[in-house]
Assembly symmetry: C2
Homo-oligomer: 311 residues x 2
């Protein structure tokens, strides 16, 4: 199966590349990389692993994109969220090249429309995909283990936490679906090899936990009680409000809206995913297991998890 | 099963009332009617058929609406499209009253988002329904027989045609799903009695025909060749363009966008419905049959079909 990935040098894309390599299915991988990034270490690493690198711009480059995607079975977008508009020309080219499955960049929590601006933009990309009747598979994975853990007093977890979070949202009792970023690729490899998932939204996550349960688990594994910083619905609303008024999209707003969604509203559950039309990877592949959160905490404690972003 | 209907005095609502009465399932029907319409003939007719009439405003009337919907199993909206915003307070009240299934007003063709303003507004109502996690069933029925037939030279069909259409859109070769309005209620009665359709979108239509096939069938049944007025994609775009620029929503724009969708783009097919996440009533209920288009043409010729709107 010939797979082309956009964003293969990023965190999600990296997990996907690892997952495709580790799979029993034989994947022939192409990475579409911006010409300006081809000489960067991350791209060179991909090349060393035997991945074909195509330096290409996504915008205003239709004919070349179509040529690059000619013969490709599956296109996977793990694009940076600020570049998500590039999925319009990418999906148009995929349609013309006869790509059999397009996986837009959804690899996060699930929610209805109108809750998170960031998520709504992903839905608008899906709207476009549907207008051109491009075969697709949406893959959502829930909230990432890597940004779910609190710091502990000894700071022993700090090295492995990309984004430590000691805030307990609205009491900390909403269950939320969680996945180790390192397992995203494993789920993706399985889902894109399955004809049942064509034109479907799939929710693939490893565990469901409340924040209170996460704190208990951290204490159990590390022997240290994490600090709790209570954060109410109103406090989150107050932080989002100025961005909303200004129509501004940024990292802070995005994080706050995610917290509002999974933490206050409780959107990010298997039950709600089914309500919203997703099929569950747990139903499709009962034997497919991701790492447990407990295992992840132990890995962080043992220095086996690398921090990502800004490294 | 206790059913409350909004818009029961309208065309779609009337078909739904008939369908519920004709069903094997025992439905206890309540009609929510504007206080100003309670004394109108259509409302009095409903009352004479044993339907409970509740005179009620939908806007700014939350507590009374909740009380009216208390104990109701299924709420069906067959609201006029210009009042579709009233579905927000209606669905909020349904949620609070514990209604088990809410059927928003979709009873027309299927299409992706961003093709028809009118359809997008329906999708936005569904977004709201999903944000409040109200159990729902979307029922689309395709384009109506009643607005699909051309006039014939002898004018023999005119009396039964609500909206005669001799325009052949973009060559007339796109297949499109069609249903007799009189059968909408039959489909609705079956679908809302089925636990499998909860939180699903269902496409229930009777026949799939191209415009050229419709003309042939009219000629076969009536012995007269209908006039063909060719209408190109560009002509439709030209007619829609000023409304789009002005951000204006009106009947003409709505009809033109429907034509663009089913006639030019070819959105309104079973195949596309499945792609867009609908389940097909034909798959769920292979034995459930609507009137054929041929039967409908004969009925019009025989004066058995009444024109609706503006009568």
């Amino acid at each position: 199966m010939k797979v082309a990935i956009v964003g293969a040098t990023g965190v999600t894309g990296g997990s996907i590349v690892d997952g495709l390599f580790a799979s029993d299915t034989q994947f022939d991988i192409t990475a579409l990389v911006r010409p300006s990034s081809v000489e960067k270490p991350a791209a060179i690493k991909l090349k060393e692993r035997g991945i074909k690198i195509i330096p290409i711009e996504l915008q205003d480059n239709h004919e070349k994109l179509v040529a690059a995607l000619n013969g490709i079975d599956v296109v996977i977008s793990a694009i940076h969220y600020q570049s998500i508009g590039d999925e319009i020309p990418l999906s148009n080219a995929a349609k013309e090249a006869g790509v059999k499955r397009y996986v837009p960049c959804f690899f996060a929590t699930i929610a209805p429309r109108g809750v998170m601006l960031h998520h709504d933009r992903k839905e608008e990309i899906l709207d476009h995909i549907q207008r051109i009747y491009l075969p697709y598979t949406v893959i959502a994975v829930g909230w990432w283990y890597q940004i779910s853990l609190p710091r502990i007093p000894s700071s022993k977890l700090d090295e492995g936490l990309t984004f430590a979070n000691n805030n307990i949202i609205a009491g900390g009792n909403q269950p939320s679906a969680l996945t180790d970023v390192r397992d995203i690729g494993k789920y993706v490899a399985t889902i894109i090899s399955d004809p049942r998932t064509i034109n479907k939204k799939v929710f693939a996550f490893s565990e469901s936990k409340t924040q209170n349960e996460i704190h208990e688990l951290v204490e159990k594994v590390t022997g240290e009680k994490p600090q709790r910083v209570d954060m109410s619905k109103e406090q989150i609303e107050e932080q989002i409000s100025p961005f909303k008024k200004a129509g501004e999209s940024n990292d802070m707003r995005s994080v706050m809206e995610y917290w509002m969604s999974w933490g206050v509203r409780g959107d990010n559950t298997a039950e709600n995913a089914v309500y919203l039309g997703y099929v569950l990877a747990k139903d499709l592949y009962p034997e497919l297991q991701g790492r447990s959160l407990e295992e992840f905490i132990q890995d962080v404690l043992d220095g086996k998890v690398k921090k990502f972003y800004g490294q």
